[in-house]
Amino acid sequence: MVSEQRDVEVKMRRTLLKAEKWLSKNTVLSFGTIITVLIFVLIVLGPILYLLLQILINWKEINTTVFNDPILGNEAFLMMMRSIGLSLQVAAVVTVFDIIVGVPIAWILARYEFRGKNILDTLVDMPMAVPTSALGFSIYLFWGTNNGLSRLFNSQVGFVSQGTLLIILAHVAFTFPYVTRSIKGIITDLDLNLEKAGKTLGASPFTIARMISLPMVKEGLLAGTVLAFTRSLGETGATLIVSGVYQTAPVVIVSWMKGLKIPTTAFLALILILISLTLLALVRLFARKVGLPWGKVFPKFERKLSSKKVTRTRDGMALFLFFIFVFIPALFVIIYLFQWWGKSPFSGDPTAGMIYQVFQAPDQKIGEILHALGTSLEIALIVTLINLVIATPMALMVSKMKKKKVKGFLDLLIDIPLVIPSSALGFSIFFLWGSNGMHLLSPGFFMIIIAHVSFSYSYCVRPLIGSFDAIPTMYDEAATAFGASKFTAFRKVTLPFLKSGLIAAAIMTFTRSMSETGATIITMGTERTIPVLLVDFFEASTFPAAAFAATILIIISFAMLLLLRRITRRAKNE
């Protein structure tokens, strides 16, 4: 019996090895490479290129609807320009604020040791994981209604009304982690001897930070700044809630799409995509060459800036701004939920409370919420699985690529979904896969999945490239030297190293999919995911129900974040 079983096992293992040997043939491998690139093109590049192509082909129609509408004239174009202008202004202000708060916090996290440092580190990451619609709603409640800040001052109206200022406040909350994240690691890895050398040569700490440390984090800072800027430029979920009548470009895309104004939407989407791509390309090309032209030093003044008093004030200010503009507003929705738990805190009316609205009212919101939550989880899970399958070979390919120019180009392409507005990307997907293009899908569950795979692709590939880069090639070489085929070596040697990288990529992709609003609205048809449902609740003014949904989202994303941190930390310790 036992030996028979062993025979079967041996046979199976032999078959597996044989299969892997076949898969390791050069022809099969190059076929795999082609498939990998093809999928990437189909899911990420294809929709964008198709959009561009269609606009060029149908230029006449676009020209008419955008610039020469028989009734509206060029009103559509003017509206586009207004919305893009607003978006760019918001993004610019937000980015400046992000740098002012984000850089000192990155410095604090990288250089100081204090109790609660880990907690602060997690809190800083949190807005990146929480769905922006939940974040936007929470921020609106805090600044914009009489439940939040104005309650402290006994005011009947909100502190900040919907509009540009509130958009900025919301965008700061979820974009500033991109700045902090992108430079914290670099600051941690800086060679302290360089700063010591500067000190012994007579420079004050401020001069050292300015002339030595900052130039070395410059590239990371620029990359983070571009991410923050493009995220602000392309955000939909939070903006829908806080914008009021002031429409940013992604919001216009969503509302035109709802009104099925396809040609104008296509044109606006393309403009937004082009702006983001230009920014990405500029930074990639010139980040290294941009110099800081401040060679002159004012020793006395800079020494004053280095004094304990000034640095303490700076650190204190950064932390204060973080708590007052990011942390408290972002989580205020939880307080709100408790305020409105059983009844309205103002009138005492129980039918205005969360319990009645969610669980007891005849429209059965809890059913809707659970269904949307189920849809969201289902989509996120499928998207994560698909992305792991298609991203791993891509990451391997980029990591092993020897031609520097091709590698740099691929690297740039992979970042595209990271920077272009997800609503514009969602629209391109709708355009390519829907009735205007290949006519394979209509808006609904599967189109949402394709859209989500597309914009979360970079979030999956990036950490995997990092993991592949970190694996020493000698193991691979050793395995091959012992006669393993490339595939067997991959399974036996590379994969175990990759485990924590894969899990990290999976969690990132999952969280990103869970939290998306813009692309979902465009591709969803009659389906509802939970971030979209939250926007619906908000628009129907059922705030307690929206707060309930937001809190669920915050809890889920927070759990994901903690999990991610645990895994990445363990990987680092190993």
Binding site: D191, N193, L194, K196, A197, G198, K199, T200, L201, G202, A203, S204, T207, M211, I212, P215, M216, G295, V297, F298, P299, K300
Partner: protein, 367 residues
């Protein structure tokens, strides 16, 4: 003018880790002093105390008679050369060198002339406009030195400055470094784990162990006149012969080792006490017993005679069963055979006896 004085300096890290203890010494202006000792002996701590990155727990450090207690790193006028050079990677060689005068707010003209002088001094003029990543290690080293020169430092602190260079280049650089320091009239304190380097490059060498200064002396002093058991153990190689002093005058002692009696220099051992006679392995003279009856020598039996390149190592078992190693020149005419009876001649003028440590030789020399 840069004379450096340590007065009873103690540095305690944390609660009780004594990194250096009761250090007192003077380094003269223009002197080149190396610090050597086993890892953890406190030599790097001395350098950090001088730089001002840490402050003494007790005691005072003076530059030219001025206490350094409240003088910040930036104002000490010291130049620090790091083991891995710490060249700013985003600046050209010229910008690196100009950094010191720039951050001190010098005028453009002054900066330019300081940089030019420094470039000339280290012979790096042709590479001034290059970035560090296109240079090799020796040029990084030169850039680091020029950067210090241009900052007008008078005291040069060197932390294993040649550690990252290849052996051949290291030897060239020892001469270059010493020449530079003398030419620019700097005071240099150089930490190294390479004894040969310290003995080649320095005016005086400080031997440290367990946070204490054991001996500060010229290279020849350390080799020929060690005044502590640890010095003869750490600098070069020595064997320690166990014996009893049977007659002591002020400077000489007669020590009985086994059945033989030898004369050596006395380092304060009283008559009748146990003594440790320290003999450098290179100073043993091994003679075949038949040549002549040597005075001041010990009988022994050859265990082996091994070729080491420029030297040969002869391992000999003495009468009292102790095994010693004599390093003799490879060209020594006689090849010793196993079990051959020999005499080991001991030169009285360069051999010293110390009080036999109570805790035993091994623990007394523990590092």
């Amino acid at each position: 003018m840069s004379e450096i004085r340590f007065e009873d300096v103690t540095k305690i890290f944390g609660k009780s880790v004594e990194a250096v203890k009761d250090l007192s010494f003077i380094i003269e202006d223009g002197e080149y002093v190396s610090l050597i000792g086993p890892s953890g002996c406190g030599k790097t701590t001395v350098l950090r105390l001088l730089a001002g990155t840490i402050l003494p727990t007790k005691g005072q450090i003076f530059f030219n008679g001025q206490p350094m207690e409240n003088v910040r790193i930036q104002d000490r006028n010291i130049g620090f050369v790091f083991q891995h050079f710490a060249i700013f990677p985003h600046m050209t060689v010229r910008e690196n060198i100009a950094y010191g005068p720039t951050v001190r707010g010098r005028s453009k003209k002054e900066i330019e002339s300081l940089v030019e002088t420094a470039l000339k001094s280290v012979r790096l003029g042709d590479k001034a406009e290059l970035y560090p990543d296109s240079l090799s290690a020796p040029d990084w080293q030169k850039t680091a030195l020029a950067r210090v020169l241009a900052s007008e430092a008078k005291v040069l602190l060197l932390d294993e400055p040649l550690g990252a260079l290849d052996q051949k280049i290291r030897e060239e650089f020892q001469l270059f470094l010493r020449d530079l320091v003398k030419r620019e009239k700097l005071t240099a304190i150089h930490v190294t784990h390479d004894q040969a380097e310290a003995l080649t490059i320095s005016d005086r060498v400080a031997v440290m162990n367990k946070g204490r200064l054991i001996q500060l002396g010229t290279p020849t002093d350390l080799i020929y006149h060690p005044n502590h058991l640890f010095t003869s153990f750490f600098v070069g190689e020595s064997d320690f012969l166990e014996g009893v002093v049977i007659d002591d005058t002020k400077k000489e002692a007669e020590v009985r080792i086994g059945q033989s009696i030898i004369k050596v220099k006395n380092m304060g051992v009283k008559k009748g006490k146990r003594a440790a006679v320290a003999v450098r392995r290179e100073f043993f003279q091994v003679e075949q017993i038949s040549t002549k009856d040597l005075s001041n020598s010990l009988p022994g039996i050859v265990i082996e005679d091994q070729f080491l390149g420029l030297l040969r190592r002869v391992r000999i078992k003495l009468e009292n069963q102790q095994i010693i190693e004599a390093k003799i020149h490879a060209k020594h005419p006689i090849h010793f055979k196993e079990n051959e009876n020999v005499r080991v001649n001991i030169e009285p003028s360069i051999t010293r006896c110390f009080d036999y440590p109570k805790e035993g030789i091994a623990s007394a020399l523990e590092m």
